[in-house]
């Protein structure tokens, strides 16, 4: 999906010729030590920032340098590390925004049904008419993920640290939601430091170190590679 993607900030090369291909329907983990360029990579593929060089394709079509709403319209959406929900809208309105943003689906009955289903699955139903700013951090993460699931025709969800700083019950709810959406055909790229969860739900992971792809494959296999372990811990575990 991406090829030779490079992003520089002044003299710092945050992403150095990153190449990654996601297969339709997979859940890929993206891991790496802090500062490895994971969030930069996510920003570039979702159109928040423009790459300095390289190409991004989605379903075979080039989307390099497109504006975020156009990339979303073509089926790739993201969540943010610090959940970006609309604090002064209600939980229900937060779910309405992405659905009604698309002219194809605006005002259809499916949307209302889908909102109800996601509210129930995310356990946010009781809070549907509360303002989103009254939610806890974990509930915001859930709401943000659900808002992503509301966008019609999404093929790929990119989740940036969805499990950071949220309680175990909410984590499990979020995992259930991800697995359910995946069974219905959605592809996921999940950036996370939570190795337990990555091991549970991601058959394959990509490791980024210092702006480059260092390894790719099943987590068990990668965990045995010395260069990866060294990058994480500073030295090998012998």
């Amino acid at each position: 999906m991406t090829n030779g993607l490079t992003k520089r900030y002044g003299g710092l090369t945050a992403n150095d010729a990153v190449a990654m291909a996601l297969a339709a329907g997979e859940i890929r983990g993206l891991i790496g030590p802090n500062g490895a360029g994971k969030t930069t990579f996510v920003n570039v593929i979702t159109g928040i920032e423009r790459p300095d060089s390289g190409h991004i394709t989605l379903d075979g079509a080039a989307v390099t340098g497109f504006a975020p709403h156009l990339i979303a319209a073509r089926g790739l959406v993201r969540s943010f590390q610090v959940a970006r929900v609309f604090g002064n809208l209600t939980v229900r309105e937060n779910l309405m925004v992405p659905y009604f943003a698309s002219e194809r689906t605006r005002g259809t009955a499916e949307g209302v049904a889908r909102i109800g289903e996601l509210l129930r699955l995310s356990t946010l139903a009781a809070l549907a008419d509360e303002l989103a700013k009254s939610l806890s951090g974990g509930q915001r993460m859930l709401l943000q993920a659900c808002a992503g699931f509301m966008i019609p025709g999404v093929k790929v969800h990119v989740l940036d640290e969805p499990f950071a700083g949220i309680n175990p019950v909410v984590k499990d709810t979020l995992i259930e939601l991800i697995l359910k959406e995946n069974r219905e055909g959605a592809t996921f790229l999940i950036v996370s430091h939570e190795m337990d969860i990555i091991r549970r739900i991601c058959p394959r992971v990509t490791v980024m170190i210092a702006g480059k792809v260092a390894a790719e494959g099943p987590l068990e296999e990668i965990a045995r590679r010395e260069d990866v372990v060294t990058a994480y811990l500073g030295r090998s575990l012998q």
Binding site: A72, A73, V77, F86, V97, R106
Partner: protein, 297 residues
């Protein structure tokens, strides 16, 4: 010597002019909260609205259809704003620009000068007055110019319509979302560039409406928007930038303070009472009545 009747009359006329000031302030605040810029040419859109009102009444519809001309003037300024935004304002967000505020300031001040010069070139430095068929009306015990009464009524209707659009329609939901978080709205698939154009057009249409409504009272000439724009910005300081309730309540407050000062202290200093209120607010609540502390520009 100060009768209750005079007090009530003063309050009523203060509120009536206040809702018109509020239109200007609402336009400024609304554009700011969506497009993230101050439109310094608001007064020139007020001026455009008043000129359209005059031309439409004098050459097309006649004095009996002044109310239809108001709608034409508002729609006209909306359209001008909607067409200008993609050309002048959009580059601010569409390109990676380092000093967006500076860009917006320079562009809208250039627009201000251009529109004023255009008005002088076409209409000359003269004053015009669009006619209406409105008689003197009685507001309670108080006789008032019909145009002044109807201006307030129209302003209230416009504010109600604005509220309906913002709270009940899809576009209102998208506008509220974009005002809170542009990037999140964009990643939700909302076309914020289109919203920018709509928000800019609605904001300047509010100014155009105020211009058209006040044209019979404050007349039509190239710099007639200046005073009302200053009032608009006074209200922003009073109510807080980016706050819709702040714009409404600040507008009424300013109108009432000016009227009270003019009636009970001395009328030549009418504009000064507003500034005194601004100074007072700056001392007590520098971020405005409804403003948020430390908001980013």
């Amino acid at each position: 010597m100060y009768s209750t009747e005079l007090l009530i009359q003063t309050l009523i006329s203060g509120i009536m002019i206040g809702v018109l000031y509020a239109l200007m302030a609402l336009g400024i605040t609304f554009i700011y909260s969506i497009v993230r810029m101050i439109n310094w040419a608001m007064g020139e859109f007020y001026m455009l609205g008043s000129y359209i009102q005059y031309v439409v009444v004098a050459y097309a519809l006649g004095r009996n259809y002044w109310w239809l001309a108001i709608i034409v003037s508002t729609a006209g300024t909306f359209l001008i704003g909607y067409l200008l935004e993609p050309i002048l304002i959009k580059p601010m967000h569409a390109r990676a620009m380092e000093r967006r505020d500076d860009y917006a300031t320079v562009v809208t001040i250039a627009l201000l000068l251009m529109l004023r010069s255009l008005a002088v070139a076409i209409g000359g430095p003269y004053q015009y007055r669009p006619e209406t068929n409105l008689p003197i009306m009685w507001v309670g015990p108080l006789p008032m110019e019909g145009a002044r009464v109807m201006a307030s009524v129209f302003a209230l209707v416009a504010l109600a319509l604005f509220w309906l659009v913002i709270s009940k329609t899809w576009i209102g939901l998208a506008l509220r979302a974009a005002a809170q978080n542009r990037v999140a709205a964009q990643t939700s698939g909302v076309d914020v560039f289109r919203l920018d154009a709509i928000a800019f057009a609605i904001g300047v249409a509010l100014a155009g409406l105020a211009g058209a409504l006040l044209a019979p009272l404050f007349l039509v000439y190239p710099t007639n928007g200046a005073v009302t724009t200053v009032k608009g910005f006074e209200i922003i300081v009073i109510g807080g930038l980016g706050s819709i309730p702040g714009a409404l309540i600040g507008g009424v407050l300013l109108g009432v303070v000016e009227s009270l000062g003019a009636a009970f202290i001395s009328s030549p200093y009418q504009n000064a009472y507003g500034f005194a209120l601004v100074l007072l607010i700056l001392l007590v609540r520098p971020y405005g009545l409804f403003g948020e502390r430390g908001r980013e520009a």
